[in-house]
Symmetry: C2
Subunit: 333 residues, 2 copies
C-alpha cells in the first residue's frame, strides 16, 4: 500500500507511491551527452575567453597563472545590479524594481569536466568560492536573500555544458523560505529544539536512508523524499548560515558532496540534477530555529498537473531503497 509521509521540514505531505514504484536501476536512463572537447573556442567560460563575460568579481588563482574557479556576473541576469530597490503600490498591485545580484561561478577551466568528477581538492575551491560570494552578496544592503544553485543537464534547465553554478541575491524574501521559517519557528516554539538538528538525529539514529557521513556532515535520502534519490546534506554543527562554515568544514563538505555526486554519477549514469544551498545571512548565523543545508534533486522523473495543483509530490521510489541503491554503487578504486 502507498504511504503518505509527512515531511517535517517542508510541512507538507509526500505520496510514496509503491504501487507505481520502479526498481532503482530503471531510473538510470542513458543520457545523450555530447562528446566534449577540453577547450571550446566559443565557450565564454573557457580560459582565454575571459573577455566574453562581464568583469570578473572573484577568482581562485591557479599556481602557475590563470585560475581554478571564477565568479562573473551573469550576462542574462534575472535581476539588474544597478539601481535602488523601490517599492511601488498601485492600488491592489505591488511591485519592486528588479534589482539584485546574479553571478555564474565557473567551476573549472576544463570545458568537459563533470562536477561529479572534479578532484576533491578542486571541489573544495568551488565550495569555498560559494562561501565567498554568499558573504559578499550579503554585504550589499539591498539584498534580503541569497540562493546558490546548480543546474546539471537539460532536464535540470541548462544547455551550457561548461561546469558552472549560479548565485542570486534578491531584494525580497521568497515565500518558500518564509514558509520554511514558519515551520521551523513553530517546531522550536513547541519543542525547544531545531527542527533540522532533530531530523538529522533521527536520520542518523535510523540509518536506513544514510548515504555518506564524516565529522562535520551527513548525507541522506530524507524520510519523506520528494522524488527518487532526493538527497539532503546537513551540517552536524548547528548554524543558520552557510557563510559561517570554517575552512575545515569546507573540506569536509567537499568530501561529502563529492561522494554524493560520484555515487549518483555511477549508480544513475550521470543523471541530470539540481542542487541548492538554503541559508540565512551571516548576520543570522546564531538563529536557533533554522539550519543551513544542501538539497539535491536528480531529474529522473517529471512533475505534472498533480504537483502543480497541490504542491505535493508523488515519489515513485521508496526512500530506503533509493538510499540502499546509492550506498551499493560500486565505486572505482
Amino acid at each position: 500500500m502507498p504511504e503518505i509521509r509527512s515531511n517535517a521540514v517542508t510541512g507538507d505531505w509526500v505520496i510514496i507511491a509503491t504501487e507505481r514504484a520502479r526498481r532503482p536501476e530503471e531510473f538510470a536512463e542513458k543520457k545523450r551527452r555530447p562528446a566534449l572537447p577540453a577547450f571550446a573556442p566559443e565557450c565564454p567560460f573557457c580560459p582565454g575567453n575571459e573577455d566574453k563575460t562581464p568583469a570578473e568579481r572573484f577568482r581562485v588563482p591557479a599556481a602557475g597563472g590563470g585560475w581554478l574557479v571564477r565568479s562573473v556576473p551573469n550576462r542574462y541576469a534575472a535581476l539588474t545590479a544597478e539601481g535602488n530597490v523601490e517599492r511601488h503600490m498601485e492600488g491592489f498591485r505591488s511591485f519592486l524594481s528588479g534589482v539584485g545580484l546574479h553571478e555564474v561561478i565557473v567551476e573549472t577551466p576544463a570545458h568537459n569536466l563533470n562536477t561529479a568528477l572534479l578532484p576533491i581538492a578542486h571541489l573544495e575551491q568551488v565550495l569555498g568560492a560559494y562561501r565567498h560570494r554568499l558573504r559578499a552578496f550579503y554585504e550589499d544592503p539591498r539584498i534580503e536573500h541569497v540562493i546558490i544553485f546548480k543546474n546539471h543537464g537539460e532536464a535540470a534547465g541548462t544547455s551550457l555544458h561548461h561546469p558552472h553554478s549560479q548565485i542570486v541575491g534578491m531584494p525580497v524574501l521568497p515565500g518558500q523560505l518564509r514558509a520554511r521559517l514558519e515551520e521551523a519557528v513553530r517546531h522550536w516554539g513547541d519543542r525547544g529544539e531545531c527542527l533540522y538538528c532533530r531530523s538529522l538525529q533521527e536520520e542518523l539514529h535510523d540509518g536506513t536512508r544514510m548515504i555518506a557521513e564524516n565529522a562535520s556532515f551527513a548525507a541522506f535520502v530524507p524520510y519523506a523524499a520528494l522524488s527518487p534519490f532526493h538527497v539532503w546534506i546537513f551540517p552536524k554543527r548547528h548554524s543558520a548560515c552557510f557563510g559561517d562554515v570554517s575552512d575545515s568544514e569546507v573540506s569536509d563538505f567537499a568530501l561529502v558532496v563529492h561522494e554524493v555526486l560520484f555515487r549518483l554519477h555511477v549508480a544513475l549514469e550521470d543523471p541530470d540534477y539540481n542542487y541548492v544551498i538554503r541559508s540565512l545571512s551571516p548576520q543570522e548565523c546564531a538563529v536557533k530555529y533554522f539550519h543551513w543545508y544542501l538539497s539535491l534533486i536528480p531529474r529522473v522523473t517529471r512533475t505534472a498537473g498533480f504537483e502543480l495543483g497541490t504542491g505535493m509530490f508523488i515519489n515513485v521510489a521508496l526512500p530506503e531503497r533509493s538510499a540502499e541503491f546509492l550506498r551499493g554503487a560500486i565505486l572505482p578504486d
Copy 2:
C-alpha cells in the same frame, strides 16, 4: 529593468525578467507530435478496449450507443481505493496509509483528437463529467481534498496521447492549498472581501491582460503570471466550489476553456500544458474567502535550481505581451 511583482493569490513574488525576455512567437516551438490514427488497437482508452481499464465509474452515453466521455479508476493509481485512513506516529515521524481515489477521465472516443479542438458541446460534457466526479469523490468520507488536472504532451508529464484528464481525492489537505487558504483568510480578515473576487475586478478593470470573457467567466494572464502564457480562468459568481456550478455555467465554462485552449493551440502551435482546477468541497461552497478557479501553465520554459530553491518563478515574458499575443491569434472562421 526587471520587475518583481507580488502575486496576491500565492502570496509570493515573481521576477518578470524583461532583460531575458523573448518575443512571444519564439515560444512556439515546433513539437514532434506523432501522426495518430483515430483508433489505436492497443490504447486502453479507445472504444472497444473498455475491458482494458478497471471497471468504469461514470459515462456520458452517446446517442447511438457507446459513450462520449467516461471515467475509470487509474490503473497506476498514486493512492489505493481500498482501506481505511490510518494515521501513524513513530516518534518524530508521521505517516498515513496511502488511501484515496484516482480516476482517469477519457475525454473522447477519438484517439487522435486534441482537447483544444473538441467541439464546444463535447467539451461541455467533459467539464460536466469533472463536476460529477468531484461531487462523487467528496461523498467519500475518507477524502479531504480533490484535485482535477490535465497533462498535455511530454513536457507536461504524459506520454499517453488519447485525450484524458485525471482526478485525485486525497485523505490530507495539501500544504499548498493550506497556504492559499491562509493568504485568502488574511485578506478577508484585513479587507472584508474575497481576494479572488478583488483580483478579478482588478483584471477586468485594467483589461490589458484579458483573453476571453463571457457572462459567467473571465480568462486572463495574471498580473504576476508565473510563466509565459500562464492563464487563470475565474468564475464571476463567487463560490468556493467547482461542484456548485450550474448547467448554464458549465456551458459558459466550456466556451471560455475552449477559447483559451484554441488560442494557445493556434498562437503557440499546440504547446504542452498542464491545467488544474482548485476547489473546496461542496459542503464548503459558501466559504466567503476562497474562490474556485482553473490555472493553466503552458510548458514552454523549464523550471530549474532557482525555482527549486526559492519557490519563486522567473517569467521571461511580460504578462501584458503574452495576453496581447493570445488575443491577436488569428482564429479560423
